[in-house]
Amino acid sequence: MPELTYRDAIRAALIEAMERDPTVLLLGEDIGLYQGTFRVTADLLARFGPRRVIDTPISEEGFVGAAIGMALLGLRPVVEVMTWNFSLLAFDQIVNNAAKVRYFSGGQVDVPLVIRGPNGAGVQLSAQHSQSVEVFYAHVPGLRVVAPATPADAWGLLRTALRGRDPVIFLENAALYGTKGPVPEGDGALPFGRAEVARPGRDVTIVAYSRMLLVALEAARQLADEGIDAEVINLRSLRPLDGETLVRSVAKTHRAVVVQEQWKPFGAAAEIAATIYEGAFDLLDAPVERVTGADVPMPYARELELLAIPHEADIVAAARRVLYRGGREAS
């Protein structure tokens, strides 16, 4: 299995699709001549030409709308948003058109559209450019929302996205682009709605996705030093959500800690916790703990940004709480 960076795994999946399927094309700001703000589309303009790698103006509503039109007419556009924060300009196109056209048309047309780009905080881009938008989209029927954490996830989920019939919200992470990991040489497509047990364990279930998976795995290593055997679930996909894997894990551990980078109120962790309560209520020995970002606009100052996002120590503390270890803090 070759080792690839997260960035190159995405790029490889795009190249594979474009070579295999002539209807696949890319749109976005600075993806061609500039080769992509995060270099995901490096060299693709030269390789596939300006009809399939289209540099757009700064006009999210326009080029997302154009991509939806292409998809309705049989193409497979892949839109890069420079960060997911800019998708808010195209929110109406995504929520009211991409997600609903099949429904409005009685199933006559699909919108096989992938919108991808970096989501979340941690690279000092300040309040407007550091948001985690997953719940905005995971709330909406008609959309698929995935959040790969590893190069293999990125490869496998993007391959599935590029073969499906649905609009896919593909959430990357700026801090992950340089991370390396093995990527399968074959198909390696990962089905949506199927979570991965990234680390099996007996004592507590830690649920995470995207960059928080790496934080959760490090927390699990620290917990192991205390004799706590944590199971870490890599969700991969938020919509659909793999409740079955969550419940199976909690049935074994009887405790869960859910990690998200977003603000706590009405976040993904709330939905995940509720799914656990619904499926495993009388298997729980403690209330589900949420580890989340601070409920503030993301600060620019590095020290403050670090304080506003979850870290290993927060997860370790939450795991101790659900295990009733280390004091009697109210949960």
């Binding site: 009887h254 209520f281 009388d282 298997l283 729980l284 020995d285 403690a286 009733y324 009697r328 803090e329 109210a330 949960s331």
Partner: protein, 417 residues
């Protein structure tokens, strides 16, 4: 709206079982009307409504035992809105004391509510869902488990510890024991278990001593004959009533015998409440005659008859078992000459009365026949001593041998030596 709580019926009672509801949610109830039948350690009693209203909710399933003081139902007063539907779930059953093997409760003094084990006064047990399920699967009442989590939450570990502790205990009597045995094992009834526990406690913890006197009952029996000749059946006076009346007046003069030992203090109740030992089919009950020292003989006779009747019929009321400060046990009707009884904590003394029998006695150097009754006082040496017990018993003898005071109204403090 008010909660109906599991009443404390008897000083050693820590929990009670709701046998059945006599009213259903939504039924109107009148003050004094029985709403449920409650089984205590020893006896079944009917719980009466304390006010008029609507029984809006029952919180305990029939067959479930709950700690004293725990809410078992909600009564809505006329005109009140019924309570919101956020009902706590009915309490799970608490096993019998034999099954839970909870440590025997220390003697509880009259007036102090017993502390229910590990249960907050709301009656809601905090437990994780998993702990609830495990406990239910193993038949362990949550009320018997102490929670180690935040705010006393019972966790999986707590239930597992309870399961392990139970497994470590010997199998209960009645377990299969190989080939048919020559001995038939009969599980203890609730009453038998309570008597066994409390009498063992008393004999182990209370340093008993005993004083006995012979009492000539001729004058007392003569008085009784005269009174009964004019009294209706329901108020006819028994020998026991005479003894109870004499004991009540004597207790006023010797309050130590009416007191109880409370560790650092001697506790003196204001009232003189005499328990009378009543044999019943399953064992023994000690219902209480209240404020006996303030009641004339004929009232004592009437009340004691009704009390004994209720005890035998299993219709004792909560008050009937609470607050006794002294006990009279009379085996005279069975032909017993004399016996010594075991003190019932927290009381200090018990008077054991034998039969009044024609007996040769020596008076003025001559042998005469007198009707003699032998009475033995058992007393707690932590509270009283031999001389005081003897003086107290002597006062009872004096009152019975010169019984005019038994028939008279005796104002407090008026009866001098």
């Amino acid at each position: 709206m008010a909660e109906v709580i599991m009443p404390k019926m008897g000083d050693a009672m820590t929990e009670g079982k709701v046998l059945r509801w006599l009213k259903r949610p939504g039924d109107p109830v009148r003050k004094g009307e029985p709403i449920a039948e409650i089984e205590t350690d020893k006896v079944n009693v009917e719980l009466e409504a304390e006010w008029d209203g609507i029984l809006s909710r029952v919180l305990v399933e029939p067959g479930s035992a709950v700690p004293v003081g725990a809410p078992i139902a909600v009564l809505t007063r006329p005109g009140e809105a019924p309570p919101a539907a956020e009902a706590p779930p009915p309490q799970g059953p608490v096993a019998s004391p034999a099954a839970t093997a909870a440590p025997p409760a220390a003697p509880v003094q009259a007036g102090t509510p017993a502390a229910p084990p590990a249960t907050p006064p709301t009656g809601v047990v905090r437990a994780s869902p998993l702990a609830r399920r495990l406990a239910a699967e193993h038949g362990i009442p949550l009320e018997t488990i102490r929670g180690s989590g935040p705010e006393g939450r019972i966790t999986k570990d707590d239930v597992e510890a309870a399961i392990a502790a139970r497994a470590a205990r010997p199998a209960p009597a009645g377990a299969p024991a190989g080939p048919p045995a020559a001995v038939r094992e009969v599980p203890l009834s609730r009453m038998r278990a309570a008597i066994a526990r409390r009498m063992t406690e008393s004999k182990q913890q209370v340093p008993h001593f005993y004083v006995t006197m012979a009492i000539a009952m001729d004058a007392a029996l003569d008085l009784r004959r005269q009174l009964n000749a004019r009294l209706p059946e329901a108020a006819k006076i028994t020998v026991n009533d005479l003894v109870v009346r004499a004991a009540a007046l004597a207790l006023r003069r010797y309050p130590n015998l009416n007191a109880s030992f409370a560790g650092e203090t001697i506790r003196h109740p204001a009232a003189v409440n005499i328990s009378i030992a009543v044999p019943v089919a399953e064992g023994l009950l000690s219902p209480v005659l209240h404020d006996v020292d303030r009641k004339p003989l004929w009232v004592i006779a009437r009340e004691s008859k009704a009390l004994i009747e209720r005890a035998r019929a299993g219709h004792l009321r909560p008050d009937d078992l609470a607050g006794g400060t002294f006990t009279v046990s009379n085996l005279g009707p069975y032909g017993v000459e004399a016996f010594a009884a075991i003190v019932t904590p927290p009381q200090t003394a018990i008077l054991a009365v034998g039969a009044a029998t024609p007996t040769p006695v020596v008076r003025d150097g001559a042998v005469q026949v007198a009707t003699v009754m032998r009475a033995t006082l058992s007393a707690d040496h932590r509270v009283t001593d031999g001389a005081e017990a003897a003086q107290f018993l002597g006062e009872i003898r004096r009152l019975l041998e010169a019984p005019v005071w038994l028939a008279a109204e005796v104002p407090e403090g008026e009866l001098a030596g």
